[in-house]
Amino acid sequence: MNRYSILRWLAYGLELFILFILQETPGLSISILGEKAFLLLPAALSIALFETNLPAMSFGIVAGVLADFGMGHPPGFHAILLAVLCFFLSELATNLIHTNFLTGLLTGLAGCILVLFLQWFVMCLMAGSEFPEYIFVRHYLPRLACTAIPIPVFYYFNRALGLFIREKE
């Protein structure tokens, strides 16, 4: 751990906090059919592409805790989900795939689909809500769409943070 790493992690932390404020504040984030973007999700996934697995897991936890706090829940569902997802995404990016815009886009999209689907499955279908299929189509699909829109922005932004705030070799 060196000062560049600490600086980079502080930048990631600040980014996640600002995104949390943006997604919570009425009228400030992207909205499709009344559904707002879940900005913490693509941000945490893109951070995982440029960090090793433990820091990626940690930022997944931070993003998940903020998401659970915003929903009024104790930290749990999103914190665990994003911790595991970011850990394995980081492993994937380090050992298996070449990180570029296309892979960043695909992994971000896949992660968003997985998290939102699980969110619907656990909090809607398993909770016994009325008309779960209607909720999925009318609420979750628009939410997925506006969550996926800023993936390229987060990819390039976190790529810049990950590459430029790093000890020169």
């Binding site: 879940f38 915003g70 009024g72 104790p74 749990g76 008309f131 909720i135």
Partner: protein, 342 residues
């Protein structure tokens, strides 16, 4: 990839997952972590919401003509020079005064109310028809406290920590105002014109249209479009005679012969900015039957009064507090907190 599962880092991940799992089970929504996070995030959210609201107002003014804008600009410059001589906290007091003035009539009509003014500072993208306000347990707010505006009922407090609270609105499918016992209709909501009583609830399809429904109307109901629906105060969660909305139509239930009324709420919960939380009122937590001699339940419908007057103490509850419960089934306000999230 399989080697990853045997590494120390993977074991750290498993440990972190176990800790988070234990945290989620054993801590409540008002735990230490939530309070600590709220200390940092709530003031920031207040500022960002204020900026966002002002930007929305400024955008509306952008469509005015040039002459109008120039004249308004000069007027505003003169006004600014006046205001600079005012006290530093003048704007805060003015805003608070304007907000509280709206509730003055309500307070004069209901001196037993102990209201706490609050502002909407957050609407989470992962929840439907819920929002966060900037007051919490430090201001005396607790779970199940009703949330209102001068126009009518907004919802109820579903989670609270030290300086913020989550409000579930009446458009949420998790909200049910009033309850129903096996032996009587213990209404939580009343048609003010005819005295017909029922239970306010909704489903997601109606919520998306901005409607709720007054269920369990009798076959002899005289309720009609245009009637005003108010709380009956029987469940002990909402005080009596708080406005809810206006009936738009009377319909038959899909799977049985009972009737329900579609109600358009007075308050647009998707855009409301300032609310009032009633932390205390007469009858809070007291569950009464429809025929209770205390007179809280007001009905001009003699058949429904006689039907419910013979019941024992009602067990239905709009919240968790009830001193005497029968074995009757009841629908309550809050299901588990996870089901309020979408």
């Amino acid at each position: 990839m399989k080697e990853v599962l045997h590494t120390k880092k993977f074991k750290i991940l498993l440990f972190a997952v176990l800790v988070l799992f234990g945290f989620s089970i054993f801590s409540g929504s008002g735990g230490i972590m939530a309070s600590a996070l709220s200390v940092v995030s709530i003031p920031t959210q207040r500022v960002s919401t204020s900026v966002s609201n002002n930007a929305a107002v400024a955008a509306q003014n952008a469509s005015a003509s040039k002459e109008d804008l120039l004249a308004e600009n000069q007027q505003l410059r003169d006004r600014i020079s006046e205001l600079e001589t005012q006290l530093v906290d003048y704007y805060d007091l003015k805003k608070e005064n304007a907000q509280l003035y709206k509730y003055l009539d309500m307070k004069q009509e209901n001196p037993d109310f102990k209201p706490v003014a609050a502002s909407v500072i957050g609407r989470d993208p992962n929840t439907l028809y819920c929002f966060t306000i900037d007051q919490g347990t430090n201001s005396g707010i607790s779970v199940n406290d009703p949330v209102v505006t001068d126009e009518g009922v907004v919802g109820w407090v579903s989670a609270v920590n030290s300086i913020s609270a989550k409000v579930t609105t009446i458009l949420s499918p998790d909200t049910k105002i009033g309850g129903l016992t096996e032996s009587s209709s213990n209404a939580g909501a009343t048609d003010k014109v005819t005295g017909d009583s029922g239970v306010i609830a909704t489903n997601i399809k109606l919520s998306d249209q901005g409607l709720i429904k007054l269920q369990y109307l009798t076959a002899e109901t005289k309720a009609k479009a245009g009637d005003i629906v108010v709380t009956s105060g029987l469940g002990g969660l909402y005080p009596a005679n708080l406005k809810i909305g206006t009936i738009t139509s009377i319909e038959h239930e899909e799977y049985d012969v009972s009737l329900y009324a579609l109600v358009k709420p007075f308050v647009d919960v998707t855009t409301v900015r300032d609310v009032m939380v009633l932390t205390e009122f007469d009858g809070q937590g007291e569950i009464l039957s429809a025929g209770d001699s205390s007179g809280i339940f007001v009905s001009s419908d003699s058949s429904s009064s006689s039907e419910s007057s013979g019941t024992s103490s009602a067990s239905s509850s709009e919240g968790s507090s009830s001193s005497s419960n029968s074995s009757s089934s009841a629908s309550s306000n809050s299901s588990s907190s996870s089901s309020s999230s979408r």
